[in-house]
Structures are given as structure tokens and as C-alpha cells.
Amino acid sequence: MTKRMIVAALALAGIFVSLYLTLYKLGIIGELSCSVGSCETVNTSTWSRFLGLPVAAWGLLFYLDVFAISLIGTFPRFEDERVISLVLVAEAAVGVLFSAWLTYLELGVIHAICIWCVTSAVIVTLILLVSVADLRDFRAENTAAT
């Protein structure tokens, strides 16, 4: 497994987590099974929308995007494209910041924790770590080459 493959696998997992939360938000899944924490409280709070879209839907778009880019990055043609690693790092950094903000809201403002939201925050953090490692590989190779 290359690092981009790991990123793609993580993003795919993120797609399902955010899809689940989005479906709940849209009312397609009636009851949220919520054995730990209070997903209902979090996912129905005022902060569960951002720019008119449910936060979960933003998460879904984000993971779809990261999945597509990292998948393309695994194609032999693009394997050596450093730009893809750069884009992944940049996107993941934005994702981590957004997740950090949401986690702050959960802990500090809503006072409820949603286990699936935390799962998503963990996934996006892992994506950032792996993409940074991926980008550093290029740097290492470049210095080795010269």
C-alpha cells in the first residue's frame, strides 16, 4: 500500500460515516442509533448547518473529493505527481481545522458528543498525517536525487 492508497481507504471510510450522518439529517434514516454520546443533540443543533448545507453533507463532499484525488494519485500516470500530494495536504489541513472547530462546538457550546462526528475528526486527522508523510517522501527523494 502506498500512502495515497491509505488516504483513499480512509476517505472511503469517511464517506460512509458522513453519508450516514447526512441521511440522518435529511430524515431518511429515522432513528439514529446512538449508544455513546448524543448524536441527536449534536446533529439537530443550530450548528449542524453551514452555509445552508448540513455539516454532514459538507463532510460527504469533502471525503468524496479527497477520495477521488487520492485515487487518481494512485494511478501509475500520476503516482509521481507532487501536486496531488500538495493538494491532499492542503485539503486535509482545511478538514482538520473545520473538524477542530466542530469538536470545540460539541465540547464547549453544545455540551454533547457525537461518536460519529468524533470518528470523522479522527479519520480526517489520519488523512492529514498520511498525506504529510506522502509529501515528505517527495522531498526525501528529491534530496536523495541531487
Binding site: A9, G30, S33
Partner: protein, 260 residues
């Protein structure tokens, strides 16, 4: 741009490259297997959750035997003859019901119910995953016996996190304290609560909700339509206004405070 640096890495034809190709093949295979595995789990889990409410009809609380429950009887707030009737099915332990009752409902009461635009009837819909909710329903029903359902309802919802199933498995002392705080005859309330005097009424309310196809809490029924989930004040106001407008009841008339 890094493109110049990148080209040589893959394009050299050398014996080592064929090894690399083979490794790449194995890697891609493993990668596809892993993606397939994640997708399978994801689709399976979401499919399972999506189908669950229909197959195992979410709610029935084992202690509330709905087989011989009799007629449902909710708790009314507002004018009996208000032009729009809002029905709420809620669970005292459900966090979103608590959120709605403490954040949204005060506005609904002061701006929709008190002016006489609509009334609201609360029905118990105790969900089985909430182990103290049935006790809460009983506590509220026994307050209703003394004409204080709504103060008790508000008190129970306000303090949801201190008596819910996550906080305790013995919620009675909390309810007893609230009974005193809202001005009930506590001894009378306690004997009612211990006897589970209104268990049948609660079961009947639950059965009525199930009959109406309620599968999440809170669920509102306004007119002949069902609105699952939390509703904001604005949404409810718009709904109530549209029904009032359609039925020709003068919204302006109702806006002038109701004569008591």
C-alpha cells in the same frame, strides 16, 4: 513545477522496473480488496440502519404493554377550540425532545399557543433504548393528576441530563424533588408514581403513536400531516399560519390576544 523532477522516476526501462511493475500489480490488488471491504461494510451498515426502523418497529417499551391499552389520552396546552391542533409525540429522555422543549417550545407557547393560533397536545412515546423514560412519563402523568403536567414536563426536560439513563438507574429521587419544586402534594404524587397508576395511559399513547407510524421523537402531527424531528419556531409558525389561512380563520384576529 515539479513535473521535470518527476518524469524520470517511472519511465526508466530497466530490469528493476519490471520488479516494480509486479509490486505495483500486487499492491493495486490489495488496495482494491481493501476498498471493496470498506465499501461492503459501509453499505451493509447503512443499509441495516436504514431498514431497521421499518422491520423492528423502533419503539415498543417492554414494560408498556400496548395490547389492551385503551384510548390514548394526551396532555393539552392552549385553547381547546384553537383553529390548529398540534400533536407532539415525545420521549422525556430523548435529547432532541429535551432540546425542543427547552429551547423552541417557550417561543411556541408564547407566540403561537397563548395567542390562540393553535393548541398542542403532548403524547408519550417512550423509546426502548431510554431506560428511565417510562418512569419520567409516569412522573409527569401523576403530576397531571394534580393539574400540573406542564410544569412537571418542563422541569423534567430541563434537568434531563441529571436523571437520564446515562446518569442514573434510580431516577425516582429526582422526580420526587421536581414534584416538590413544582408545588405538588408530594405524598400523593409518590403513591401515584409507585403504583404506576397511569401506565396504561402511557402505553395507550405509545400505541397511538405506533398506529400513526411515528418512528422517531419528537414527531409532530399538524392537521393531517406528520413532521418527524425537531421543528424550529419559524417552521411551526409558517405551518400554523398556512393552515389558518387555508381554512379562512383570521390570523389577524388571532394575533390580537385571545380573550380569556
Amino acid at each position: 513545477m515539479p513535473a521535470n523532477n518527476d518524469q524520470p522516476r517511472a519511465r526508466n526501462v530497466s530490469p528493476r522496473n519490471t520488479v516494480r511493475e509486479a509490486q505495483r500489480g500486487n499492491r493495486s490488488k490489495a488496495f482494491l480488496w481493501i476498498l471493496g471491504f470498506i465499501a461492503l461494510i459501509g453499505v451493509g451498515a447503512i443499509g441495516y440502519v436504514a431498514s431497521k426502523p421499518k422491520s423492528s418497529s423502533v419503539a415498543s417499551v417492554d414494560v408498556a404493554d400496548t395490547s389492551n391499552a385503551g384510548p390514548a389520552q394526551g396532555y393539552l396546552i392552549g385553547k381547546v377550540d384553537a383553529p390548529v391542533k398540534i400533536i407532539e409525540f415525545a420521549d422525556f429522555e430523548c435529547p432532541s425532545c429535551g432540546g425542543w422543549a427547552t429551547v423552541t417550545e417557550p417561543d411556541v407557547r408564547s407566540r403561537i399557543i397563548e395567542p390562540g393560533l393553535a393548541n398542542l397536545t403532548y403524547y408519550d412515546y417512550p423509546l426502548e433504548q431510554h431506560r428511565n423514560t417510562l418512569a419520567a412519563s409516569n412522573a409527569a402523568a401523576c403530576a397531571d393528576e394534580q393539574g400540573k403536567f406542564w410544569p412537571m414536563h418542563d422541569r423534567i426536560f430541563q434537568a434531563q441530563t441529571e436523571w437520564n439513563g446515562e446518569a442514573t438507574d434510580a431516577p425516582k429521587p429526582f422526580f420526587k424533588r421536581y414534584a416538590g419544586e413544582v408545588g405538588l402534594d408530594v405524598a400523593k404524587w409518590e403513591s401515584c408514581f409507585d403504583a404506576r397508576k397511569y401506565q396504561k395511559r402511557i402505553a395507550a399513547n405509545l400505541a397511538d403513536g405506533m398506529r400513526r407510524g411515528v418512528n422517531s421523537t419528537p414527531t409532530f402531527i399538524i392537521g393531517d400531516r406528520k413532521y418527524p424531528g425537531m421543528r424550529s419556531y419559524d417552521e411551526l409558525k409558517a405551518l400554523v399560519d398556512s393552515i389558518n389561512r387555508a381554512s379562512g380563520a383570521s390570523v389577524a384576529g388571532a394575533a390580537a390576544p385571545a380573550k380569556k
